[in-house]
Chain length 190, copies 2
């Protein structure tokens, strides 16, 4: 059985160095609050307000390190509240996605694109991919068994890279739909 740890991605954003400077001030560096499971990635203490045409959400965490493009990852529940038609996209696939306003303690940034709902995915190292017989970009189903809301997620993209380790990412809508709480494992089918 191919089992993978399931992590819930709460709403968050990634920022460019330039947007970080605009939001938090010149020379500001992201703090490392906690290493995430994916190597090199970390939660920070830095939070911003995300503003859309219909509302705003304060306290949205930035994940580090800085990236080549600013990207806001919301649940579709969040996106609806903000009035943003966030498409379901893989990380970095931002063309045609809506923008929004970001408010930091020092300044504001208006991004013209970058608001997405993350496409659910499984990270694997090359060795784990070989062990599971899965290739980069393969699409699989993952079954999450819970007491009241067992769910099989289709359209799960497998990403294999030397910088990854085994972990599935779902957003809060997906985690709630499957009744996830505590440590959750998924079974990769097929």
């Amino acid at each position: 059985m191919k089992k993978v740890l399931v992590s819930v991605s709460a709403r968050h954003l990634h920022v460019t160095a330039a947007d970080l400077a605009a939001l938090f001030g010149e020379g500001f560096e992201l703090s490392n609050k906690k290493d995430l499971i994916q190597p090199g990635q970390f939660a920070t203490n830095e939070r911003v307000t995300v503003v859309g045409p219909k509302g705003e959400i304060a306290g949205v965490s930035i994940l580090g390190p800085v990236r080549p493009a600013t990207q806001v990852e919301l649940s579709l529940t969040d996106a609806r509240k903000l009035g943003l038609a966030a498409p379901v996209r893989e990380s970095g696939m931002l063309a045609g996605s809506p923008g929004c306003k970001l408010i930091g303690p020092v300044g504001e940034v208006e991004i013209t694109e970058g608001v997405i709902a993350a496409k659910r995915h499984v990270h694997l190292s090359p060795a784990q991919g070989a062990e599971f017989g899965l290739k980069d970009r393969q699409v699989v189903e993952v079954k999450i068994t819970t007491a009241d809301r067992t769910t099989t997620f289709g359209d799960v993209v497998v990403r294999v890279d030397k910088n990854y380790t085994a972990e599935m990412h779902v957003d809060t809508d997906e985690a709630n739909a499957a009744g996830c709480s505590g440590e959750v494992w998924g079974e990769i089918l097929g």
Copy 2:
């Protein structure tokens, strides 16, 4: 193929006649804004604020007619925001669920139980149940196929009753997890 229309239940509540009187005034009657698909059920224009220990949500719609018990149906996203540990329950199964405060235009009500996340379910008339070969309380899987988030929901309870007609109910977390938009049909498996 057993296909069923999927409807998304946004957060809402059902109220007793006594709680309606406390919230909206003696003698107040629920307005029928729109008939729902299930016979005799209707959306109303009446809205209240639902208050939990960590927050509140304004503008939560009451569905009519009045019922023997007041029941607040939230998504788990909503419940977390309010700080309420809403269990996943079938309608009416309220024992041990948390309470909350309800604020209406005339008065407030403190309920001691009744906040739940609805267990996903399919309504069928007896004739539809016979046609599909499904019995009341049978548990099935329903597959919802969408462009980016095809999802198979397990733990779907079938309810067969002469007052029902064919319709699946999911909450907003579930609808978003499956990428539902517009008219959506599910396929009952097995």
